[in-house]
Amino acid sequence: MTNGVAEALAHRRFREIVPPLLDDAYTLAKWLCRNGADAEDIVQEAAIRALRALETTAVDVPKPWFLSIVRNAAFTWMARNRPKATTSVGDLADLDALDARLGEGSPDPEQLLIALQDGERLKRAIADLPAPLMETLVMRDVNGLSYRDIAQATEAPIGTVMSRLARARAALAKTLKADR
């Protein structure tokens, strides 16, 4: 009986919360796994998890909550289906070596502005970012989450979010200036 009530409540919450967030969820998942069909599976898996979680959870701020589930579902999915591509701890340590400054060693700022016109190149550069930087950038500039929401969704301190975002943007600029 209690179980059924919780499920009915979960369904009601689910219908309010999840459908409006599907575009954001799909876009995030697609960036994380780099494939539209896989992103659909990830979002569906995330939705199933969300439905279960809603039996016991009331959600104040749905967007970071659901995107966090999508992110975790994506990582689970990647670990299961593409173990080689999964981020290792080493990647995180390497991040510290990345410079957060865009301008350093760039005599020609025009070059960056020109590179930014090329959408395909920019998207490739985003896709090549290490996962922690990429998810932070996508949540900020694509999903439009606040720093605090990103911190919640990625389970990272807000200082880490700021630093990852700065590094992500710096790395993008560097890539765009380097390749041609």
Partner: protein, 279 residues
């Protein structure tokens, strides 16, 4: 005083609107004094704008949206129930024809639905929905989703001669489109709703800031014939009625009285001023 790396974080936070006012003032002073910082900010802004422009949010594919809706769909969607334990062991639904809830989603929906029903008996807030209730509930969810997502229709047009063929290409129901602009309900567009797994035409009319979505069902569709009249589901008003050929379910965020006026106008058909309906 402030180290260079911290400045970069501050500039990022400033263009994201996340810097507190005191720090923002202090940063402004620093930028005025240092052209390199000013250039850095311009580059970061350009980069951010480029990311937003070239990497926009994408719309979730319709098939995915439908599958997610089916996860918590009313029972009308589900023919047979399966025990819950089977839900997690089923394979994922790749390779199926797109557009329909995959077997796993249906199994999960079924298991939830069964448990929900078992528990719903005796609870005032959880009526055991008959199929017409289920259809109305699904359409209310559609309406809420479309409103919140800001995409109330898939084809935007006030011209029924544009909307009708668009819908005809995607549904098996020949839509009955009434021009009600003269009565204060201009047509805004159309979309396809999935009712009992059948794509059905839905017309979206505007009234001031409000919308009403009319879904048209064959008379023999499951759940098409409910009680006529207006009820409230999840805060939206739902009106249903039947014509000689089709059953109609209208979902709206308008008040009940205005919705009743709309329904009356729709049932009366086009005003004499409007051109006659094509056969």
């Amino acid at each position: 005083m402030t180290d260079p790396d911290n400045r970069i974080l501050q500039i990022n936070a400033a263009i994201d609107g996340e810097l507190d006012p005191m720090s923002a003032l202090e940063l402004e002073r620093a930028i005025r004094a240092d052209p390199a910082l000013a250039a850095e900010r311009e580059r970061l802004k350009a980069l951010r704008e480029a990311v937003r422009r070239h990497a926009p949010r994408e719309a979730a594919p319709r098939a995915l949206v439908d599958r997610i809706a089916a996860l918590s769909a009313p029972a009308a969607l589900v023919a047979t129930a399966q025990p819950r334990a089977s839900a997690s062991s089923l394979p994922t639904g790749r390779g199926r024809p797109s557009g329909w809830p995959n077997p796993r989603a249906l199994a999960v929906a079924a298991s939830f639905a069964v448990l929900g029903f078992a528990a719903g008996v005796g609870l005032t807030s959880l009526r055991v929905p008959d199929s017409s209730q289920a259809v109305a509930g699904g359409l209310v969810s559609d309406f809420a989703r479309a409103s919140i997502a800001g995409q109330p229709f898939d084809v935007a047009s006030s011209d029924r001669h544009t909307v009708k063929p668009w819908l005809a290409g995607r549904t098996t129901v020949s839509a009955d489109i009434v021009d009600l602009a003269a009565q204060g309900f201009p047509l805004a567009g159309g979309r396809v709703a999935v009712v009992d797994r059948i794509p059905t035409p839905t017309l979206v009319y505007r009234h001031n800031e409000h919308m009403v979505a009319v879904t048209e069902l064959p008379l023999d569709a499951k759940g098409a014939r409910g009680g006529e009249g207006i009820e409230t589901i999840d805060g939206y008003h739902v009106a249903r009625w039947a014509g000689p050929n089709l059953a109609y379910v209208a979902v709206s965020d308008m008040d009940e009285k205005t919705l009743a006026e709309f329904v009356a106008a729709f049932r009366r058909g086009p005003s004499p001023a409007a051109e006659p309906r094509r056969p």
